[in-house]
């Protein structure tokens, strides 16, 4: 069973380190791409111009605005067969300093935004008989690591959403998977404690951090080529 060509993609977090590599790969594959951005207006404009991709201003911490933006996209005739969620925020506060707003931001941008996107995009995917959802998270929760708690919790929720959504949406031809990334050069990894990067380089099997392009290649395989893997966490972490 070969993979049917996938033609339209929506990417959350398109101006992030991994998101940009994903958008680039999608456009190289000839996939019409809309990418979400929040603060990086100039970066989004430059990326859109360079790659002929469509930018979409999105504050994923605002559920109502996110839902409205996705509905406007649909009403405008853009129904993606691929959805990739690369957006995340990593509040670095220790336990005692986590504010309610830190927690809200972290969980809204990761898990809730993924659920809103699934709610808004799945009906058209189901009607088409096929859809491919790739959530992108950090680390696969198989290890005990010194991560900020709000960040770890928000990322952990993505795994649970992946498994449950794959079960519910699988009969409609929609595959849902999570790529759990290890530490990369750049992006959110740079906001974590420097000692974590050093330990990672020492203890991981490949003894190095990953490149965003390496992450993007795994994400893109699941988004564009995969036909049978669903409800799974693909660990792309250099062996930790």
């Amino acid at each position: 069973m070969g993979a049917a060509a996938r033609t339209r993609a929506l990417v959350f977090g398109g101006t992030g380190t991994v998101g940009e590599a994903v958008v680039r790969g999608l456009r190289e594959a000839g996939v019409a791409t809309v990418f979400g951005w929040h603060r990086a207006r100039e970066r989004a404009a430059a990326l859109a111009a360079e790659l002929d991709a469509r930018p979409l201003e999105l504050d994923l911490a605002d559920a109502g605005a996110t839902r409205a933006a996705l509905r406007a996209l649909r009403d405008g005739g853009f129904n993606p067969d691929v959805f990739i969620h690369c957006a995340a925020v990593a509040p670095a506060a220790p336990l005692a300093a986590i504010s309610d707003e830190d927690w809200r931001q972290a969980t809204e941008v990761s898990g809730h935004a993924a659920v809103i996107a699934l709610q808004e995009l799945a009906p058209a995917m189901a009607a088409a008989g096929e859809g491919h959802v790739v959530l992108v998270g950090a680390l696969d929760r198989a290890q005990s690591l010194p991560l900020p708690i709000a960040f770890a919790a928000a990322q952990g929720a993505l795994g649970a959403i992946t498994m449950a959504a794959a079960k519910e949406l699988g009969p409609q031809g929609i595959r849902v998977n999570l790529v759990a990334l290890g530490l990369l050069e750049g992006g959110l990894s740079g906001q974590l404690a420097p000692s974590l990067s050093k330990d990672y380089t020492t203890f991981s099997a490949l003894h190095r951090l990953g490149q965003p392009q390496e992450a993007a290649r795994a994400i893109l395989w699941l988004a564009l080529e995969n036909t049978y893997v669903s409800g799974k966490i693909l660990s792309v972490n250099g062996g930790i």
């Binding site: 699988g170 290649r217 795994a218 395989w221 080529e225 049978y228 409800g231 660990s235 062996g239």
Partner: protein
């Protein structure tokens, strides 16, 4: 490729050949299957015939001879797929020591012997990919023969530890664990067991060997540079 004469092994061999790889495979018993596989891989490779070796993967002499001839012919091995496997559907009360040993030998010792032999050229090249074929039987509580489930679980530990040991040489080691697919074990299961399985599967169908082969191809390709020690379970959302 160990166990490359039929089923998933053959599909992976054909996919690799279509992608431009020179393919060598082993088989244990059925010469007719091996000759058909040789023809199919040759066709997939636009006329380049595979190297074919008969023997059991748990026989160290066979492993040494096979790897030695491949390295002598091609100068090295870039990719090893530990695919050879066997099982018997037996309850533990009827499972003799010889059955246990046979399943452990083919599924686990074979992976160890072939990996050890192939790694010499990979370490010299400071590059390589080892992919072992596991099973969803090591992922879930299911009705599976205990020796088979134990053997496939052993491959998880083997994969993780070997990935850690040889990562410094830029060698990646991963595990692909399929659910039921349209060859092998699914052919011998009673229909009610198949129906139970499909009822639990989100995608509601068995995998095809071709789509599993495409996944295997990705995992050993230059596209995969940062995954190692990983297991990829392909079970249609079981």
């Amino acid at each position: 490729m160990t166990g490359g004469s039929r089923g998933l092994g053959l599909a992976i061999g054909e996919a690799f050949a279509r992608a431009g790889a020179r393919v060598a495979f082993t088989f244990s018993r059925n010469r007719d299957d091996a000759e058909e596989a040789r023809a199919r891989i040759t066709a997939a490779a636009s006329g380049a015939a595979p190297l074919v070796f008969q023997g059991t993967v748990a026989d160290a002499a066979h492993v040494q001879r096979t790897v030695g001839e491949i390295v002598a012919s091609w100068g090295g091995i870039d990719v090893l797929v530990n695919n050879a496997g066997m099982t018997q559907v037996l309850p533990i009360a009827l499972l003799e020591e010889a059955d246990w040993d046979a399943v452990m030998n083919v599924n686990v010792k074979g992976a160890y012997l072939f990996s050890r032999a192939a790694l010499k050229s990979m370490i010299r090249a400071r590059a390589g990919q080892i992919l072992s074929i596991g099973s969803f039987a090591s992922e879930r509580i299911i009705e599976a023969p205990v020796h088979f489930a134990a053997a496939k679980s052993a491959l998880r530990g083997f994969t993780e530890a070997l990935a850690r040991e040889v990562g410094r040489y830029n060698i990646r080691v991963n595990l692909l664990s399929p659910g039921l697919f349209d060859a092998g074990l699914s052919r011998s299961l009673p229909q009610h067991r198949l129906n139970e399985y499909l009822g639990q599967s989100a995608l509601g169908r068995l995998a095809t060997v071709e789509e599993l082969a495409q996944l295997a191809l990705f995992l050993v390709s230059d596209q995969n540079t940062f995954m190692t020690g990983a297991k990829v379970v392909a079970d249609g959302g079981l």
